[in-house]
């Protein structure tokens, strides 16, 4: 979650504790829902008929700072108590460690609105379910500096992942040997993103990863499901590679209630690029997030999955190597209407017979 946003949204619900994050451009959203069973004790608090359960957000760094050293946490911490104290304006995290030592952290929080992305996995035309390891193996062969990949389905149930190198047609194509369940007939390819962090988390927790996708432009949803944990990662995708289509942005991530200036009504296309690198990279321009994929040994209660995501503004990275030119358009304030769509310089993998317009 720390890869996506700087703030961690905590929302206790009857169905569990939901931890969420959204990125600044609202093109990526993730939520981890921990069912009550996950916890030894779960008390979401009392609610009246009119009041909602209290929500808050805290700075991601402050929260993560408490769980800084995972190996030592595993060894020394017995249990963790999380208390939300609205009146004191404090989120209390108490770690009960060995030798009877208690570490209490009182974090300042901000009240916030409900953070929810608009998405519906049922509406997605296609579904791909695979063990995370398979997908991770597929992306590991791409160059470390890769910005994005295109996921495409082909005849015969083949799944392909393609990237672009520079502006040439150079492609490396991966077909995972088995797409266990591709739920629909092959559709036009579109570029979603491979969230490295989510893959590592899924691999570590041995959960299969499901990718719900649809036409280009509609968000792609990665999900992980477990008896006590539900993970959703919603990413915006590049709507059309060829034309400057006017894709309505209704399928994007929204903030309820959503201030409309956050949302690109007139956006032509938007895309979030993600690094598929496994190793931590310092070099490649990544103005928003450094890239790292620490690998958790096992699923930790408070562990946030890390996702790598790179968003770039055209103007913000003058030193960007050429092959990244086509990447990363934000919706909203970043996109300037008169700017030539860099996506057009990109070679289209397979043409839409009926291009979205």
């Amino acid at each position: 979650l720390s890869r996506i946003g700087d703030e961690l949204y905590l929302e206790p619900t009857e169905g569990g504790l939901s931890l969420r994050a959204v990125n600044s451009s609202r093109s990526a959203f993730a939520s981890f829902l921990f069912a009550p069973l996950f916890f030894q004790l779960y008390e979401p608090g009392s609610t009246g008929p009119d009041t909602e359960l209290f929500r808050c957000k805290v700075h991601m760094k402050s929260f993560l700072g408490i769980f800084r050293s995972l190996p030592s946490l595993e060894k020394s911490v017995g249990k963790c108590l999380i208390l939300l104290k609205p009146r004191a304006s404090r989120l209390v995290l108490q770690l009960h460690c060995k030798y009877g030592v208690t570490k209490t952290h009182n974090l300042a929080f901000q009240e916030c609105e409900r953070l929810q992305a608009v998405f519906d996995t049922q509406r997605c035309a296609s579904r791909l379910c695979a063990p995370a390891r398979v997908l991770a193996e597929a992306v590991v062969h791409f160059p470390l500096t890769l910005a994005e990949v295109t996921l495409g389905t082909g005849p015969g149930g083949k799944i392909g992942l393609r990237n672009y190198v520079e502006e040439e047609a150079g492609e490396s194509c991966r077909s995972p040997p088995k797409p266990p369940s591709a739920g629909s007939p092959p559709g036009p390819p579109h570029p979603p993103l491979c969230p490295q962090g989510l893959l590592s988390f899924a691999e570590a927790s041995n959960l299969p990863l499901t990718i719900h996708f649809d036409e280009p432009g509609r968000p792609v949803i990665f999900t992980l499901d477990d008896t006590v944990l539900e993970v959703h990662l919603v990413l915006a995708t590049l709507s059309d590679l060829e034309s400057n289509s006017q894709s309505p942005s209704t399928n994007g991530v929204s903030h309820l209630p959503a201030p409309s200036d956050d949302f690109p009504d007139d956006l032509e296309s938007y895309m979030v690029a993600m690094e598929t690198s496994e190793a931590g990279l310092e070099g490649p321009p990544s103005p928003t997030f450094p890239l790292r994929t620490p690998r958790p040994a096992k699923s930790q209660p408070e562990e946030k999955e890390e996702e790598e995501e790179e968003e770039e503004e055209e103007g913000a990275v003058p030193g960007t190597p050429p092959h990244k030119k086509f990447r990363s358009l934000f919706f909203g304030s970043v996109m300037t209407p008169g700017r030539p769509d860099p996506a057009t310089s990109q070679e289209v993998l397979a043409e839409d017979s009926d291009g979205e317009s």
């Binding site: 700075h59 402050s62 030592s72 030798y99 009877g100 570490k103 009182n106």
Partner: protein, 281 residues
């Protein structure tokens, strides 16, 4: 392997002369107090004491008893000089800081007296290095007047329990607040940083607690930047004693066992922070 330096040509004896088989016994202790460039060395018949101070608020002392040395002789009642601790450490570790088993740097230290440089002869694997470090007029040292009769609260903890805590102290907090009390929370370390406050509580019946003698509830704040260097001493030590007096002065004494199992001590004294306000709990 000990070796002896040539006696001074004039026939007079050195004010201070010492030999040590393994220079690490000295250098590791000096590193635990190395938060300022200069140190004051005091040599008496009981051994060597190296003192470092900062801001007139904090003082650290490293004690290396005469018994640790293979040879230790002080001519006058005491010998005192000021020296660059950084340079001294660089010389002591001139053959490198990594400790390969079986190899050690032998040291011979000679000081002729006031105005003379400190001579170091270091040998490892047949290679000898001679260092001459200039000495200066010793500074007047702070006297915290901390004696055991004035101690209000005292705790002895196994260092293992504190090491991580000190290493992970929230440095965005200006102060480290120490609460010692015969009642809950017994022993608490608190920081007040940008993210919020953090409290580390050690119960009196914890396995880590070797001794617990608290007579009064005291809460004192100390500048965290001054105390942070003590983490080095904590890392080396096996036990630490934490004492406060009526004025809130803090004494931290670290018991350090060296490679040969000998015991040495490092202590830190710190003044409480003047701007004491209500503790945020």
């Amino acid at each position: 392997m000990p070796f002896s330096a040539p006696p001074p040509a004039s026939g007079e004896r050195y004010a201070l002369s010492a030999s040590l088989d393994n220079a690490r016994h000295l250098s590791s202790l000096l590193r635990a107090v190395h938060f300022q460039d200069h140190a004051t060395c005091l040599a008496t018949a009981s051994g060597l004491r190296v003192t470092v101070e900062d801001a007139k608020c904090i003082q650290a002392n490293a004690f290396i008893q005469a018994e640790i040395f293979q040879e230790f002789s002080v001519q006058e009642e005491s010998v005192m000089f000021r020296i660059s601790l950084s340079v001294l450490l660089d010389c002591l570790t001139i053959f490198g800081t990594s400790s390969l088993p079986g190899t050690s740097t032998a040291l011979r230290m000679c000081y002729r007296g006031y105005g003379y440089p400190l001579m170091l002869f270091l040998e490892e694997g047949g290679v000898v290095t001679v260092c001459k470090i200039n000495t200066q007029e010793p500074d007047e040292l702070l006297d915290f007047d901390f004696c055991s009769t004035k101690v209000v609260n005292k705790i002895i903890l196994q260092s293992e329990g504190l090491r991580e805590a000190f290493a992970e102290l929230d440095m965005t907090s200006e102060v480290l607040q120490i609460t010692m009390s015969p009642d809950k929370p017994y022993f608490r370390l608190s920081t007040f940083g940008n993210a919020g406050s953090a409290h580390l509580d050690y119960p009196r019946d914890s396995d880590l607690m070797e001794a617990f003698h608290c007579t009064q509830t005291q809460t004192n704040r100390y500048k965290i930047s001054l105390l942070k260097p003590s983490t080095k001493a904590l890392a080396l030590s096996c036990k630490v004693s934490i004492r406060t007096d009526a004025q809130g002065f803090l004494s931290l004494q670290y018991m350090i066992r060296n490679e040969d199992g000998q015991i040495c001590f490092v202590e830190y004294y710190c003044c409480p922070d003047e701007n004491i306000s209500e503790a945020e709990l």
